[in-house]
Amino acid sequence: MTILFVCYKQQPAVSQESENMTSKEDGQDPRLPKIASSIRVIPDFPKPGIMFQDITTLLLDTEAFKDTIDIFVERYKGKGISVVAGVEARGFIFGPPIALAIGAKFVPMRKPKKLPGKVFSEEYSLEYGTDKIEMHVGAVEPGERAIIIDDLIATGGTLSAAIRLLERVGVKIVECACVIELPELKGRDKLGETPLFILVTSDAA
């Protein structure tokens, strides 16, 4: 049985803010339990031993989905972020609504050969072999401030590749943001100096 526990991985500044927010208990956003419980766990997908975190059920819960986006928007609005980069394919579901709400561009980061124009690409390790992530040349400019969105961080391979890709073209990644973290897989360690913000943590297996 997977235990879903909910925490708000906040940077220190927020615990000061929460003193003014009497509706929060222990600094926890009251919207988080519903978000956490709306995520379905599917055992043994894609292979035996993996407990797959299925966000499609969150997308069916209109309140939980809205709350998820609102939490990210509240965090990133007014921070001079001009780029929301989303990792294919589930990052495409969360990224654009956030980008629209904060006035930023949405930049899809895709598997090889999907983007039609000239691309930059970055390789990353898989359990067996490697894969690549790509971004259009000209999508971002040096000096822009970006957040990178995906539904989940596991080993951190994809997100660290996305960070390298954006940093290569002179973009500052303010934060990586995911709905779910699987902390046992220590993905956070791969992100270097880049902070990670997540809503929900879960066991990997």
């Binding site: 797959f52 819960d61 609504p97 980008a99 629209l100 949405f106 039609p116």
Partner: protein, 191 residues
Amino acid sequence: MFAAENGLKGDPRLEAISAAIRVVPNFPKKGIMFQDITTLLLDHKAFKHTIDIFVDRYKDMQISVVAGVEARGFMFGPSIALAIGAKFVPLRKPGKLPGKVISESYELEYGHDRLEMHVDAVEPLERVIIIDDLVATGGTLSAAISLMESQGAEVVECACVIGLPEVKGQHKLKGKPLYVLVEPSGLDEFC
């Protein structure tokens, strides 16, 4: 039917949307003028206009499901769903969805592919719109309509940002209304 024929004639937003779409010749193969919506997503105003037009159209139509076709339908569908208070249902390539799925095959130029949906995603009698970035032959959208109807849901309309010449003059796809914002740019070579 195109938005310009249906109440939005002369709407400057449509021009902005069209201008923001980049044409990439010979992708994925020679002769294809690929309609690249990633440049639309970089243009915050034009992207917002795109979503606003769909939201204005669907917000009072009691739509409870917005289904988006992988992967570019995912870039438009969720924002529309959130704004109109509907569920978002991803329609995916085989093997991606983790739970029990139903699937429908559709024709490609060479061979065929499949589209899948979770079995518990939509309920009978729900009113659905299906979103994709572009409609060409309508094969993918037709498969999506079949998936919805197999669950007893009602497809109210299919909606796309871009409609290729094949669909001009067609108001319906598999008996369902089709709503398209703009025609493709840069097709002069084909005429």
